[in-house]
């Protein structure tokens, strides 16, 4: 028997596989297909203080081995998430869930996190700092160490649950942002969010997505994500949830060797709704193949020696 369990700041997960925010909704669509309680946990749809429709459509463009999305954080707002989505989710998912939070001002992050921190179902709060800061002239909180520090500090002050900051890869040096979050008291880090990308339609000669640019995800970004997890692992001493293009049990193992304590699966869920189940089911055989008995023992294994 192999041991798939991992720990995230005191939270024990049966296995490291977590559907990434925005690719799993609030779980219901997938619960129709399989028992989602086999998941380590899951990160629900990015939630903001106020309801958001998001960006105009088209919001999706295809790429080689990946896709671009510019959904723009469509969600019903934190009040409705707590009043309607979480009770519904409780019926199909019985493990602690990861609450993914976004905001456009410090105050929004604080309000949202404060509310979700009180929910028993929430095991961990994942703070997405990739959205533009309306008070900072539209620049993302996640691109500057000072604003990343500020958000982390403010959110930590109003929460008891572990706080993981989700980092953007669209920065000069992700390790600097990571270090700022650790210094501000972050319990862990999630990385990477999508890479800023675009496609142009040759027939119309205009960008495919209405917002012109969007977040590039899928298989193609795995090496970039892996590299960033590896670099951040060397810089900080807090756990990392690794993500970006993960679509197989082998990718999970590779991500953990780079330094991830758990792994999120994103775009793969959208093309194969059984992706997470398939990965979890094939992990034991993959571990045996590579002589791994206890999965958590390989975390950061690529850095030794």
């Amino acid at each position: 028997m192999v041991d798939l369990s991992v720990n995230l700041s005191g939270l024990t997960l049966d296995n490291p596989v977590i559907p990434a925010s925005g690719t799993f909704g609030f779980g219901y669509e997938f619960a129709e297909l399989y028992d989602i309680n086999i998941l380590g946990s899951f990160s629900f749809k990015g939630t903001t203080r106020d309801p958001r429709f998001g960006n105009p459509t088209p919001r999706i463009a295809e790429c080689e081995s990946g896709m671009i999305n510019s959904v723009g954080l469509q969600n019903p707002g934190v009040e409705k998430v707590i009043a309607e989505e979480l009770p519904k989710l409780k019926k199909c998912f019985h493990k602690p869930v990861i609450a993914n939070v976004s905001g456009f001002s410090l105050d929004e992050y604080v309000t949202c996190c404060e509310k979700l921190d009180k929910e028993d179902q929430v095991g961990l709060i994942e703070v997405n700092i990739s959205c533009p800061n309306v008070h900072g002239g539209g620049m993302s909180f996640g691109v500057c160490p000072d604003s990343a520090f500020e958000v982390t500090k403010a959110v930590k002050a109003v929460t008891k649950k572990p706080v993981y900051i989700k980092l953007s890869p669209n920065v000069t040096d992700i390790t600097e942002i990571a270090a700022a979050c650790e210094e501000a008291g972050a319990d862990g880090l999630s990385l990477i969010n999508t890479l800023l990308g675009m496609r142009i339609d040759l027939k119309t000669k205009k960008p495919v997505v209405a917002n012109k640019m969007g977040g590039f995800s899928g298989k193609a970004i795995f090496p970039v994500a892996l590299r960033m997890v590896y670099q951040v692992y060397e810089k900080v001493n807090i756990p990392i949830i690794g993500m970006g293009g993960v679509s197989s049990a082998e990718d999970v193992i590779e991500m953990m060797l780079a330094g991830a304590s758990a792994v999120q699966v994103g775009a793969a869920n959208l093309v194969n709704p059984y992706a997470c189940r398939d990965i979890i089911e094939s992990l034991p055989a993959a571990m045996e193949k590579y002589n791994i008995k206890t999965l958590k023992e390989i975390i950061g294994g690529a850095h030794n020696g």
Partner: protein
């Protein structure tokens, strides 16, 4: 929704750039006309959503137009090819509210879903009129197939090379209908919406990520709240539409 492997049994050109593909597999999750399937193709990241033309006892029929690389690859698939397909996607048309004399309007590749719908309405004993709209004669398909089902069929072409010259709305004059169902390009849907004198159901198209409601890639605003074209649609009722 169900995931299954289907086998291509036939894949043939039926009009200019338009192909008909017949597949064998588990069709048990397809419960209403107007639903769609999402097809995984080798070498493409996202699946291809294609509306269901007809399905019966394990036989699935799709009609698609070659508009990009994905549909071009589909057109080259040989009989015997296995395809990973998600079925039973979308809400589909509700036939219960049609009244005795429903009017069906399909434009271009909006025609295929009208076929299964027409079949169902006729089986329910209704008097069905179908208007099929195309750009030009070489693009016309399924006129005979609809006639064979027992529907009254009118064909329009934008250039007048076949049937009535003009758009589907030009053939609506004088038809006494109790309800309408339509599928086609958005300007056509809007024209039908404006000209119609009864309630109806309109099927919309949008670029999709997943096709089953998870990614929020194809959302739209309606009078009944935000909806996902793939999951809460693609069929919307006339009263809820915001143009």
């Amino acid at each position: 929704m169900k995931q299954g492997i289907f086998t291509v049994t036939e894949n043939r050109k039926i009009a200019s750039s338009v192909f008909e593909m017949t597949l064998a597999g588990d069709t048990s999750d397809i419960t209403a006309p107007g639903q769609f399937v999402n097809i995984q193709l080798d070498g493409f990241f996202l699946r291809r959503p294609i509306s269901v033309c007809d399905c019966e006892d394990g036989t699935l029929r799709l009609i698609y137009k070659v508009v990009g690389k994905g549909t071009e690859a589909m057109s080259g698939l040989a009989s015997g090819t296995g395809l990973d397909i998600l079925t039973g996607l979308g809400n589909g048309y509700n036939t219960e509210v049609s009244g005795d004399r429903p009017l069906l309007l399909g434009g271009g590749v909006g025609v295929p879903p009208m076929y299964m719908l027409c079949k169902k309405l006729l089986a329910e004993g209704k008097d069905v009129t179908v208007i099929l709209g195309f750009n030009t004669e070489s693009e016309v398909f399924y006129e005979e197939e609809f006639k064979a089902l027992g529907a009254k069929v009118l064909v329009t072409t934008a250039d007048g090379s076949k049937g009535i010259k003009g758009f589907v709305t030009d053939a609506m004059n004088g038809i006494d209908y109790t309800y309408f169902y339509t599928c086609g390009p958005e300007p056509m849907l809007k024209a039908v919406y404006n000209k119609s004198t009864t309630s109806g159901q309109l099927s919309f198209e949008e670029r999709m990520g997943c096709g089953f409601g998870a990614c929020m890639g194809c959302s739209c605003k309606t009078k009944y709240g935000n909806k996902r074209i793939c999951k809460d649609g693609p069929v919307l009722v006339k009263e809820e539409i915001i143009w």
